[in-house]
């Protein structure tokens, strides 16, 4: 019986060549995904501003202002995770696996810390302030929709980073071929940058 096999000589070179040829395409595809996600957030943010400016002051009567102090701390935690993620990739590029793993774990822990902070804030709003998604008008709807959507992205990002860490431990990536780690870093930076916008519009403006 004839069995199709890859030629042993030059097989690695073919794989390397294929990686080089498709890396930019995959990068462009991933950037398009991030741009489409950016459009999604932008449409919700514009809708939020439209509703906010058509109402009678902000926050609406009966709802207290959000706690900026706690949100600032939570923001610093998320922004810090962006910095650790960047250094994780840099250490991978320089072949320093231990430092890469340390920064990667720090990023995951900080991401979980941010999610914990968001859960705490939600609990405070719902239990103490009685602000809910459906029962507090456009304020509750816009706040929980936008921050919830962002929180969902952070949750997905934490799972994504954990998978990337496992993959790198199992040797899926090399010093030369690490597109997955680049995509993970891009995604995490994107999540950070979206929070810069959300933090500013909900807590500061």
């Amino acid at each position: 019986m004839a069995v199709a096999t890859l030629p042993h000589s030059g097989a690695h070179e073919e794989v390397d060549q294929l990686y080089k040829e498709t890396r930019d395409l995959r990068l462009q595809g991933f950037l398009l995904f991030l741009i489409s996600d950016c459009v999604l957030f932008s449409s919700f943010i514009f809708a939020y501003f439209y509703m906010r400016n058509s109402g009678q002051g902000w926050p609406p009567p009966g709802i207290h202002r959000l706690d900026v102090a706690f949100a600032a701390v939570n923001s610093v935690i998320l922004f810090g995770s962006g910095a650790t993620m960047h250094y994780a990739l840099e250490n991978w590029k320089h072949g320093n696996f231990n430092r890469y793993a340390m920064f990667m774990i720090a990023t995951i822990v900080l991401g979980l810390g941010f999610l914990g902070g968001q859960a705490y804030e939600y609990t405070n709003l719902i239990v103490k302030e009685h602000v809910t998604w459906a029962g507090s008008g456009i304020f509750g709807a816009s706040f929980f929709t936008l921050t919830g959507m962002h929180g969902f992205h952070v949750s997905v990002g934490v799972i994504y980073l954990f998978i990337l860490l496992l993959q790198s431990v199992h040797g899926v990536y090399t010093k030369e071929k690490y597109f997955g780690l680049t995509a993970g870093t891009l995604y995490w930076h994107f999540v950070d940058v979206i929070w810069v916008a959300l933090f500013s519009i909900f807590y500061l403006v």
């Binding site: 600032a72 610093v76 302030e129 930076h189 940058v193 500061l204």
Partner: protein
């Protein structure tokens, strides 16, 4: 030191650390080429801006710091 003052301090100190670290990373990557590195530079710049905003919020320059949700 009460909880709010601690939050002030963490926001300011943490914001300074993140701003400095991201600015250093941006400086180190400044001459890097390629689409991914260009995006990284943009993201690091915005990350630095975010950290500065957090410092501003922590220091009370921005937002309604201190009024809280009470």
């Amino acid at each position: 030191m009460n909880l709010v003052a601690t939050e002030h301090l963490i926001a300011i100190v943490g914001g300074i650390i993140v701003a400095v670290v991201s600015a250093i990373a941006l400086k180190n990557d400044w001459n890097a080429t390629g689409i991914d590195n260009q995006v990284f530079k943009l993201m690091l710049g915005l990350l630095c801006l975010g950290a500065l905003i957090a410092i501003g919020a922590g220091a009370g320059f921005l937002g309604n710091f201190g009024q809280g949700a009470a």
